[in-house]
């Protein structure tokens, strides 16, 4: 991993307002955590685990392209001390962050949410679908802007689960 790649990753973490991040490539593990002052502290280490076991968390080159905000480690990755869950759109429709224009958003970065709590509304065929959180945790990222169309399976929120 060279300096350019490291910079790219830091930018990505900043762009997506993640507070913690972990990536592994060619047996090298990079952990980034915000310290108390809010600054990022990158920590690099070598991994001894069999590389095959890490295939489940592919965070190689494609994920680093800014166009693909996929750089969230799957919660299932082994020995990860944080867990990020990604809420995806179950349908094609229009994404709304609040119950109506002018109302406060259901959830913002930093909001603590509970399982079953409404995160957003997706409108499809004039049916307003409330999307509930499947996790207890804290919103660390909102991927879509209010009023944007979303596709099936598109990422909506990242939640740091508790």
């Amino acid at each position: 991993m060279d300096l350019d790649q490291l910079k790219q990753i830091l930018d990505l973490v900043r762009e997506h307002e993640l507070t913690q991040f972990e990536v592994e490539q060619d047996g090298l593990r990079l952990k980034i955590k915000k310290d108390a002052s809010g600054a990022f502290v990158p920590v690099m280490s070598h991994v001894n685990a069999a590389p095959v076991a890490q295939v489940a968390a592919p965070l190689a080159a494609p994920a680093m392209a800014p166009a693909a905000p996929a750089a969230v480690p799957p919660a299932a990755a082994a020995d990860v001390d944080i867990e990020l869950a990604v809420v995806k759109s179950p349908i094609v429709g229009t994404f709304y962050r609040a119950a109506e224009p002018g109302a406060p958003p259901f959830a913002e970065v930093g909001t603590t949410v509970k399982k079953g709590q409404v995160l957003c509304i997706i409108e499809a065929m004039k049916l307003m679908n409330e999307i509930d959180s499947e996790y207890d945790g804290e919103i660390v990222n909102v991927y879509v802007e209010n009023g944007q169309p979303v596709q099936y399976g598109e990422r909506l929120f990242a939640i740091r689960t508790k």
């Binding site: 179950p90 094609v92 229009t94 079953g116 409108e123 499809a124 065929m125 004039k126 307003m128 409330e130």
Partner: protein, 284 residues
């Protein structure tokens, strides 16, 4: 607290019992409530959390007046007493025999068709439908539908849908300054209309189209919809996107009810948001 169902409404519903199926097996009536959709949604949500839930399918909430009647995206639905129909029904399109996704997509389309059919059966007026489900007479809005999903706890799947509709029976149902864009049954007919009959027929027609939906008779629903949605082909439309207003010409709807619009860049598929029809579009 709910109120007793008015006698004439009870009779009108009972007279159609054989067409209602699971619909209106339970009716909650209010002289005044905030929003029938909110009441129905809270009853449906409370139900889904019960250890042995009662079946909310077909639950009907009716109000003579609403103090917080709602339309799409927080718009107010004017709901003074005695002038309109304010009804919400709890439906479960997830129970469709096949292609549940299509049943969910076509639910509000089915409801628009049913409401138009009910109006026609009781009054002889033949309302047009504006995609996906507003009822219009000579371009003016007669009725609107607002559907809200109730998610299953845990899975996030759709547990039920609260389908609410507001229909202007008398011109007192809307502020006079809206009379260029809104209309009512009595102003179209020039005579009074039996509100209980319209309400009961709306429920019976809705029950029949809901049955079509559960039995996966999707093409029959879409055919009936197309016969009333004159502006869904060859009409100029515009709609808002985050990147600005777009325009195009309608080319019908697809199997999922999405509106197809030809633009300079190709064929767009619209599933949400509000589409505005140009002034010279046929019949709108």
């Amino acid at each position: 607290m709910s109120d007793p169902l008015p006698t004439e409404l009870r009779h009108a519903i009972e007279a159609r019992r054989d067409r209602l199926g699971p619909l209106a097996s339970r009716i909650v009536y209010f002289e005044t409530t905030g929003s029938t959709n909110d009441v129905a949604a809270s009853l449906a949500s409370a139900d889904r959390l019960e250890a042995s839930p009662t079946d909310v399918e077909g639950l009907v909430v009716i109000a003579d007046a609403q103090t917080a009647g709602r339309g799409r995206r927080g718009r107010t639905w004017f709901s003074p007493p005695g002038a309109g129909l304010y009804v919400s029904v709890v439906l479960r399109p997830g129970r469709a025999r096949e292609s549940v996704e299509r049943a969910i997509a076509l639910l509000t389309i089915s409801a628009g068709v049913a409401l138009a059919e009910a109006v026609e059966r009781v009054t002889g007026l033949s309302p047009a439908i504006k995609w996906p489900n507003d009822l219009l007479v000579e371009r003016r809005k007669l009725a609107g539908i607002l559907a809200e999903g109730v998610a299953s706890p845990g899975s996030g799947a759709l547990h039920a849908v609260v389908l609410g509709f507001g229909l202007n029976v008398m011109s007192a149902a809307y502020p006079p300054e809206l009379s260029t864009i809104v209309t009512s049954l009595d102003s179209e007919l020039g005579r009074g209309v039996d509100r209980a009959e319209v309400c009961a027929e709306a429920l019976a027609s809705l029950a029949e189209r809901y049955r079509d939906l559960l039995d996966a008779r999707y093409d029959a629903i879409l055919d009936a919809w197309r016969a009333r949605a004159f502006g869904s082909r060859g009409a100029k439309v515009e709609w808002d996107t985050p990147a600005g207003v777009r325009t195009g010409v309608t080319e019908g709807v697809d199997a999922m009810g999405a509106l197809l619009v030809r633009t300079g860049e190709g064929l767009e598929r619209i599933v949400a948001g509000e589409v505005r029809w140009g002034l010279h579009a046929a019949r709108y």
